[in-house]
Symmetry: C2
Subunit: 233 residues, 2 copies
């Protein structure tokens, strides 16, 4: 616990702990300062500002991710493993996906991950601009799914349910609106009813949606490769 001076690494580590524990809205410079036994404003010297601190934290966690060996498992398995690894990372650090604004603006941790992605899709047979696009497509899907299933989202939902439970009048109104929508939009209603009958909420379904989406995209990429001559090695 004893330490001479603050440093950047230490601040980033503490920020990640706080983010993991309390989510993106739980991080404030004052709380972080308290955690580090410093004035809230001490961090500005080391990390510039809060936004930059978030970028540093995001890059740091990217380097946790385990990378497949493309040469031994083949491109399709490697691509699948990269997608699952990215999703798992977003799951473990629910705030990560909210920090990612642009993959381009990043450091060592993400670069390492991206390089392996390039290697993977190059092995598949993609070249030049096609290669860029093939790398991007799966990770836009992962990002979108992570946004939907981030625990921030889950927390918002839980809170909404608690509020509703606390105010039975509002709860009843929400149910009435749901029923009205289900009646007006029959396919949506049927899907909701089926999910309710299976006892599946969004959380249970999300793993299956992810698996479906991953295979769909891999199939789609395979189809694009097949649509060319001599593209695959």
């Amino acid at each position: 616990m004893a330490r001479e001076t603050l440093n950047r690494e230490q601040i980033v580590r503490a920020a990640i702990e706080l983010l993991d524990a309390e989510g993106i809205e739980g991080l404030s410079m004052r709380k972080l300062g308290q955690r580090l036994g410093s004035a809230a404003t001490a961090m500005y010297w080391h990390v510039g500002n809060k936004e930059n601190l978030l970028v540093l934290a995001a890059d740091e966690v990217w380097s946790e991710v385990r990378l497949p060996d493309v040469a031994t498992v083949g491109w399709r398995t490697a691509a699948r493993e990269l997608m699952y690894a990215a999703r798992e990372l977003c799951d473990r650090h629910s705030w990560l996906v909210r920090v990612i604004t642009s993959y381009a603006a990043a450091g060592e941790g993400l670069a390492r991950f991206q390089e392996r992605a390039y290697e993977t899709f190059e092995a598949a047979g993609f070249r030049d601009a096609d290669l860029d696009w093939a790398v991007s497509t799966p990770f836009m899907f992962v990002t979108g799914l992570a946004i939907m299933s981030s625990s921030d989202a889950a927390e918002v939902k839980k809170r909404a349910e608690q509020d509703a439970a606390a105010q039975p009048e509002q709860e009843a109104q929400a149910v009435a609106q749901m029923n009205a929508l289900a009646a007006k939009y029959p396919r949506l209603g049927a899907s909701m009813a089926a999910q309710a009958q299976r006892g599946q909420g969004f959380v249970e379904q999300v793993d299956e949606v992810f698996a479906f989406g991953v295979e769909t995209i891999l199939d789609g990429l395979t189809a694009r490769l097949a649509g060319r001559s001599g593209a695959s090695e």
Copy 2:
């Protein structure tokens, strides 16, 4: 301009205007109150709180979206048009994608859109849980891409560049880091160099990435349909 009392619709409309003009960080209850000529706290009676106001605003803009006629254009075209329409909506309202936490928690505007999506993928031949997943997959991709290319992201980037320009020392450091990454991660470096040579930044590429991703996913869904017996009508 003269009006008797505030109402929910009016508040939501003003919020959308403010959000479109200044982005999600430009919306505050105080500014909104000012715009409406009311006390900042007057809105609480009508919309409960800020989060709920954002949800109402998001649902409102969803009803702007134009829906294709599945019966006349066929499922593949309809699916493509739904994806393009959703992306265009996210482009026009850069804050939308940041408000969407879960598609499930929504109202009339989104329900209308989703119903057409269900209709589209049902026409393609998907049923039951597969239908849910087929509907979800494209929109997770759209969401992910919208996140990356949201003008909030663009603004963050622009601001970073301005900061860098103002502080040439930092600028030089950033360039040095980029070069170091490009050297360490050759495929990434090659891609960056190629993009620079083509004079393409992220903004120019994103339309092409989107087009590629859309066709990839449509191909992937087609492949999944073909993998079954009698699934397609």
